[in-house]
């Protein structure tokens, strides 16, 4: 598998009145070409900050890139593989990152309502991306835009291309957003909660569309969501985050069939599902700590029902270790436990 992007020990800290919020604190993962990596976690776990850091669109200040690397492997040029670029070293307002944003890495956001400007037509906004990156003529950009809209399932694209965003329904706007993200055939698509704001029947359509497009274009997808079921529909591999750290990482099937980290297990048990008996949901006790005052040791220990005094609450942070091929867990070994 050829690696497309490698995130190594990423740290993003926010300087706020209460102190330093470690939104992302030592996150590492990589995505291979044409793979779908899902990142799941609850609000405040740092999943969106991680994704936004890749495109360097985290507002700074208050954010501070406190460490790590984001290595992006450029397209091989006539068989010659150029060395990877560390996106963190680029100027967030500079020319280099702009060539990557939209062109190499596309992004779709949660709120299709606010992601399009209200004053320009959908077509103009998509064409702008194409003209900027590919320096095409206006006529060609328009033809390509219509083709893209057709591709993402917008009926009558020759006409709809001249509509303003308010004329599109939520699902249609999300489709148009995907069309815009795909306009320059990116190699990586970052989808940040792409289906959170839309209805379940439309959500099913959008997930199906993403799956099709991934197969057809060979792009990789970084899917950020709080919804475990959505991530299981699409992802090859899943990263579970909690309070800025990676708790567990495994192939999708393995994660759902054999979750090892107590947080992952707790999350899986707290979803009201459509199968099995209706019993009381198992809940994770307590609530998330303040990001400015993270607990010592394992960041999850105050809420963990497997927490061991003197081990999990000490000074040492558990390392992310590979337990079986491709299955990584950050948890102190349990005595006689499941091979952690």
């Amino acid at each position: 598998m050829t690696k497309l992007i490698e995130i190594k020990n990423l740290r993003v800290h926010f300087d706020v009145d209460e102190g330093t919020a470690k939104a992302v604190d030592g996150v590492s993962f990589d995505i291979g070409e044409n793979r779908v990596l899902g990142v799941i976690g609850e609000s405040g776990c740092g999943k969106s900050v991680t994704a936004h850091s890749i495109l360097r669109i985290v507002p700074s200040p208050p954010a501070r890139m406190a460490g790590g690397q984001i290595l992006f492997h450029p397209r091989s040029n006539g068989g010659v593989q150029a060395p990877p670029v560390d996106l963190l070293t680029l100027d967030p307002k500079g020319e280099d990152i702009r060539k990557i944003r939209g062109k190499e890495i596309g992004m779709i956001f949660q709120e299709p309502m606010t992601s399009f400007g209200p004053l320009h037509t959908i077509g103009d906004q998509i064409m702008e991306t194409i003209i900027t990156h590919d320096r095409t003529s206006k006529a060609e950009a328009r033809t390509r835009t219509i083709e893209l809209l057709r591709r993402v399932g917008i009926p009558n694209p020759e006409k709809r291309v001249d509509d303003y965003p308010h004329k599109f329904s939520g699902g249609m706007r999300q489709r148009a957003m995907i069309a815009m993200a795909l306009s320059c055939s990116p190699r990586l698509l970052i989808a940040d909660e792409p289906t959170t704001a839309i209805d379940v029947t439309v959500q099913a359509q959008i997930l199906e569309l993403l799956r099709e497009l991934k197969e057809a274009t060979g792009m990789a997808i970084l899917l950020i969501t709080h919804n475990l079921a959505v991530v299981s529909e699409l992802a090859d591999e899943i990263v579970v985050m909690y309070m800025g750290r990676v708790m567990e990482r495994a192939p999708a099937e393995e994660l759902f069939n054999n979750p090892l980290h107590p947080y992952t297990i707790g999350l899986l048990h707290s979803i009201p599902v459509l199968d099995g008996p209706v019993v009381r949901l198992e809940q994770i006790k307590g609530s998330v700590p303040s990001p400015c005052a993270l607990p010592d040791g394992c960041v999850f220990h105050p809420r963990c029902d497997k927490c061991r005094q003197g081990v999990c609450d000490g000074q040492e942070v558990p390392e992310l270790k590979e337990i079986s091929p491709g299955h990584w867990v950050s948890c102190f070994p349990q005595p006689g436990g499941r091979g952690l």
């Binding site: 379940v200 959500q203 359509q205 709080h226 979803i271 009201p272 809940q283």
Partner: protein, 346 residues
């Protein structure tokens, strides 16, 4: 009028239905032009008949714009319905809610309370938790002074907050804690009927599980009847005894929970169930992808509102509106072919 419905001994000799809704309509006018002339109407709730049994949880499920929230709000008369009747049976008396005068309705809200979706906008930021939770008790002259404080404290502890939280303001709390405050406020006055509108939708999954468990415990403890409104079939399944599915302002199917989930009789219920994302891969089956868009309730088709998107539709479907009719034990569906077609459940 004392609230007697919550004492166990009296429940048995009360009528089975706590609420009976008949022919309920909520049409919002569409106004246009300088003279604000009415050019049409948005039929948010369109001829809904629905009975709610005492001590049950009725789950109301549907997608945005189907009218489920409007229906919930009509029960409390937060909207004034444009047609139909709602009868509320309480304390041995039967009240026609839509005929009550404003001040009578205000009194009635002691017994019918609402829990809202957004724990951030539904609490007044300038009131302390004690004032928020105590307000219904105070305005209804149920308790004051020391007694009020005691009751607020007991309620806060019951929903999982601490007594010292009384003097704090909402901004000092997380989303889950705010939702607990909203629940304490709704239940402090011991209502008989609670309308919960997307009350766990804005919460993270671990917090959502905590709040769902709490709502379930409180229902048993205070013998409450819930109308639980949600777009999430998983949440609805965990909490409800019966489930009603809404589409384009109408109830298209209603049945006991497992009956509805395992043997749906309306094609829309089938499609909705099929669209729910599943965690485990082997549970994923061929998904029914609905064509077209959600209905426009200001411009409904002549026949069945779902007919244009329905893969089972025949000629009659685009000409004649199907009525909600019995298709099995306690099972009603509004489809011309509810009995003939075999649909897939979960």
């Amino acid at each position: 009028m004392r609230n007697t419905a919550s004492f166990a001994g009296q429940v048995l000799d009360q009528p089975q239905n706590i609420l009976e809704i008949e022919g309920l309509q909520m049409f919002f006018p569409i106004l246009k032009g300088f003279l604000r002339r009415q050019v049409g109407s948005i039929k948010a709730v369109n001829d809904v008949d629905l009975s709610i049994r005492r001590n049950e949880v009725l789950g109301l499920v549907g997608e945005s714009g189907c009218g489920k929230s409007t229906l919930g709000r009509c029960i409390l008369r937060l909207y004034e319905p444009t047609g139909g009747t709602i009868h509320f049976d309480h304390g041995g008396e039967r009240f026609s809610l839509l005929d009550l005068k404003k001040h009578e309705m205000r009194k009635m809200r002691r017994s019918i309370q609402m829990i809202f979706q957004d724990p951030f906008s539904s609490l007044n930021d300038r009131m302390t938790v004690k004032e928020i939770v105590g307000e219904p008790l105070l305005v209804n002259q149920v308790a004051s002074g020391r007694e009020l404080e005691d009751r607020v404290e007991r309620m806060l502890v019951r929903v999982g907050l601490r007594p010292e939280h009384m003097r704090r303001y909402p901004h000092a709390f997380s989303g889950g804690q705010r939702q607990r405050i909203g629940i304490a406020r709704a239940l402090a006055i011991h209502p008989a009927l609670v309308v919960a509108d997307e009350s766990v939708s804005a919460l993270d999954v671990s917090v959502q599980a905590q709040i769902m468990n709490l709502l379930k415990e409180l229902q048993a403890e205070f013998q409450l009847t819930y109308v639980f409104i949600s777009h999430d079939f998983g949440v609805i399944r965990y909490l409800s005894d019966r489930i009603a599915v809404m589409y384009a302002g109408k109830i298209v199917e209603i049945a006991a929970r497992d009956e509805l989930l395992h043997t749906p009789r309306h094609p829309y219920t089938e499609a909705l169930l099929s669209a729910v994302p599943r965690v485990k891969a082997h549970q994923r089956r061929d998904r029914i992808l609905l064509k077209g868009n959600p209905p426009d309730v200001s411009n409904l088709p002549k026949g069945c509102a779902f007919s244009e998107r329905c893969s089972y539709a025949k000629d009659i479907c685009s000409n004649q509106v199907p009525v909600l009719r019995g298709v099995g034990e306690g099972h009603q569906a509004a489809c011309h072919f509810a009995v003939e077609i075999k649909l897939r459940g979960i």
